[in-house]
């Protein structure tokens, strides 16, 4: 704990000094580094890939339907409408990854805001805010997301907002706990005594020092958001066809499981790969940013 206090106070003056160490510690975490490489490659493939493939994701070719992988130019086969799965997978990746990142941004900003205000003001403001967090946590997130997406027009934007609505509570909790301890530190007291406003102390002093846990939680939120999008799109309430997403590509997979298993295998493995990469990155960041794990 003492190392953490020292690190926290030193980080307040200038935190560039640990950046190098954090980076090397992160890269030493082999699984996290692999995860980062996979995500970079996947993002690149989703951005460039569709331009390089011979088919686009919407071209229907009923003569070529249910082609297994490696049939002619259909590297990953075709779906029940004869559309190229490789092209759909990469275009779906754009949507699914974008939803994941956007959810992360929205819920991290919102959760941090709630957590900082609750942790800084404490008292009844803090209690009310944290009880609201508890109330949202009481609903299983899939239930909440399904209800809301059934009630609104399920555009990618609305899906993102709805998923973000069920992802901010963890971050708010983590930030509140962190702020509660940071607000008693000397640098906060010094800032308060020198007449800094509450807003200055919250966003210039406290939040920058809570950045480590926030970044870790944000990374894990991406993983969670991609999974949630996949769940609701699989159930038919998420991203709507013809727009492909990793979840809705699995939509018809159960129906054709016996004859065309690749319909299920290809998107499923991609989702697992992407989500586990983000989880490993989050794990590596936790080790790299946590000054308590200084030990080898």
């Amino acid at each position: 704990m003492t190392t953490m206090t020292a690190a926290g106070d030193a980080a307040h003056t200038r935190h560039h000094w640990w950046q190098h160490r954090t980076l090397s510690r992160f890269l030493r975490h082999r699984l996290a580094a692999t995860g980062l490489a996979i995500i970079l490659m996947l993002t690149l493939a989703c951005l460039l890939g569709p331009h390089l493939l011979p088919y686009d994701e919407l071209t229907v070719d009923l003569r070529a339907r249910f082609s297994p992988p490696l049939t002619q130019d259909h590297y990953l086969g075709t779906d029940p409408l004869g559309r190229d799965i490789a092209a759909r997978l990469l275009m779906a990746g754009r949507i699914s990854l974008l939803v994941g990142f956007s959810v992360m941004l929205i819920s991290t900003v919102f959760g941090t805001l709630i957590g900082v205000v609750a942790g800084y003001f404490r008292g009844w403001v803090g209690s009310v805010l944290m009880r609201i967090v508890d109330a949202f946590l009481a609903f299983p997130s899939i239930f909440l997301v399904l209800v809301l997406s059934a009630f609104v027009e399920p555009s990618p934007f609305m899906i993102t907002v709805i998923i973000a609505l069920t992802c901010w509570m963890e971050i708010a909790r983590i930030v509140e706990a962190e702020i509660l301890s940071l607000r008693e530190r000397d640098f906060t007291i010094a800032a308060r005594l020198s007449g800094a406003s509450a807003r200055w102390i919250m966003f210039r002093e406290l939040v920058p020092n809570a950045m480590g846990p926030i970044i870790v939680a944000a990374t894990l939120t991406i993983a969670n958001a991609i999974l949630l999008e996949a769940y609701i799109s699989f159930l038919g309430y998420g991203i709507q066809p013809p727009l492909p997403s990793w979840g809705n590509m699995l939509n018809s997979a159960q129906q054709y499981l016996a004859d065309a298993p690749w319909l299920a295998i290809v998107p499923g493995i991609t989702i697992t790969l992407a989500v586990s990469s983000f989880n490993f990155i989050g794990d590596g960041l936790r080790d790299a940013l946590d000054s308590r794990s200084n030990l080898p």
Binding site: A138, I142, F143, V147, L148, F151, A230, A253, T272
Partner: protein, 316 residues
């Protein structure tokens, strides 16, 4: 202990109140609000709908409507299903036991396996087993549950033909063995994530206890390794798991919904999804509220158990 419990109970009641507020807001978000069932009825004019709204008291201020709705919720009047006009609570309870059976089995399985793997990983820290368990848990947490279900159906039902692909019984066969055979795959799918979570937490909790002075004392007294492990380490490492069991409830409920959908298991999750499909909002709201209440009660019970078993909480 009394003060702690009263404080905790008060907190739960406030959260429950907020939960009902969120539920009411969602209900009013439904297209057409609580009157959506009439929106598609042919021959129903705008004037008719307004008349019904006035009759049902929907023209009153929202705050009054809310307390009216809450009052009826508290006395067990949860409205009637749009689909067949039966009371919501009756329909939900009909489906509840199938979900509880699935959740109970899965929780038992995942607690036993997860705790075993967690202890083994902590005791043999950094061994090959520990490494595989850690990576395996991380991947298990990343597999979409429904997709794992599809893979399980493909392997065990379609290719190997060992187990049924879905539903709860074979028609015309009501034997216990038949029930059990249908239970295996959904349990497997629902348990995947939970085994991963339980093993991670149990490993961390065991490692924390391993470093403590009383463990060293026990070893120094010359107690056998087995005795130290079971009576000193595991007993203490299990305490935080009680809280975890409470916190995991929403995850398990959500997982049950997915597993029930893939395996056409006739439980509450499937009812929920069907009801959304039929725009049967009273049932949807009923399940949403019931699961939130269930989760809050679970958490309260977990805290109560911790207070009973762990004197540190009681005296704090």
């Amino acid at each position: 202990m009394g003060r702690y419990l009263i404080g905790r109970l008060g907190q739960s009641i406030i959260v429950l109140f907020l939960v009902s507020l969120i539920g009411f807001m969602i209900l009013n978000l439904a297209p057409g609000g609580p009157l959506s069932q009439f929106a598609l009825t042919p021959g129903m004019s705008q004037a008719d709908i307004q008349r019904i709204a006035a009759q049902m008291g929907l023209d009153r201020p929202l705050i009054i409507q809310y307390f009216d709705w809450l009052g009826r919720l508290l006395v067990g009047d949860w409205g009637d299903s749009f689909r067949d006009g039966r009371p919501v609570l009756e329909i939900i309870i009909e489906h509840l036991w199938a979900t509880l059976l699935l959740m109970g089995t899965s929780m038992a399985v995942s607690i036993v396996i997860g705790i075993g793997v967690g202890i083994a990983g902590a005791v043999r820290r950094y061994s090959v087993f520990d490494y595989l368990a850690t990576v395996g848990a991380m991947v298990a947490l990343s597999i979409p549950t429904f997709w794992f279900g599809l893979v399980a159906i493909y392997l065990f039902a379609l290719q190997l033909d060992w187990l049924p692909a879905g539903s709860m019984t074979t028609i015309g066969d009501g034997s216990v063995v038949d029930y059990l055979r249908h239970l295996i795959l959904p349990t497997l799918v629902l348990s995947l994530v939970n085994v991963a979570i339980w093993s991670r937490y149990m490993r961390a909790s065991t490692l924390e206890v391993l470093d403590q002075d009383f463990v060293r004392t026990a070893r120094a007294k010359g107690l056998s390794r087995y005795r130290v492990l079971v009576h000193h380490i595991v007993r203490n490492a299990l305490l935080p798991m009680i809280t975890l069991a409470g916190l995991q409830l929403p995850t398990i409920l959500g997982g049950a919904l997915v597993a029930e959908t893939v395996f056409t298991w006739p439980g509450m999750g499937r009812l929920f999804l069907d009801s959304i499909g039929y725009s049967d909002y009273p049932v949807v709201m009923g399940i949403l509220m019931l699961s939130a209440i269930f989760v809050l009660l679970g958490n309260l019970l977990a805290d109560l158990l911790v207070a009973i078993t762990d004197p540190r909480v009681r005296l704090a």
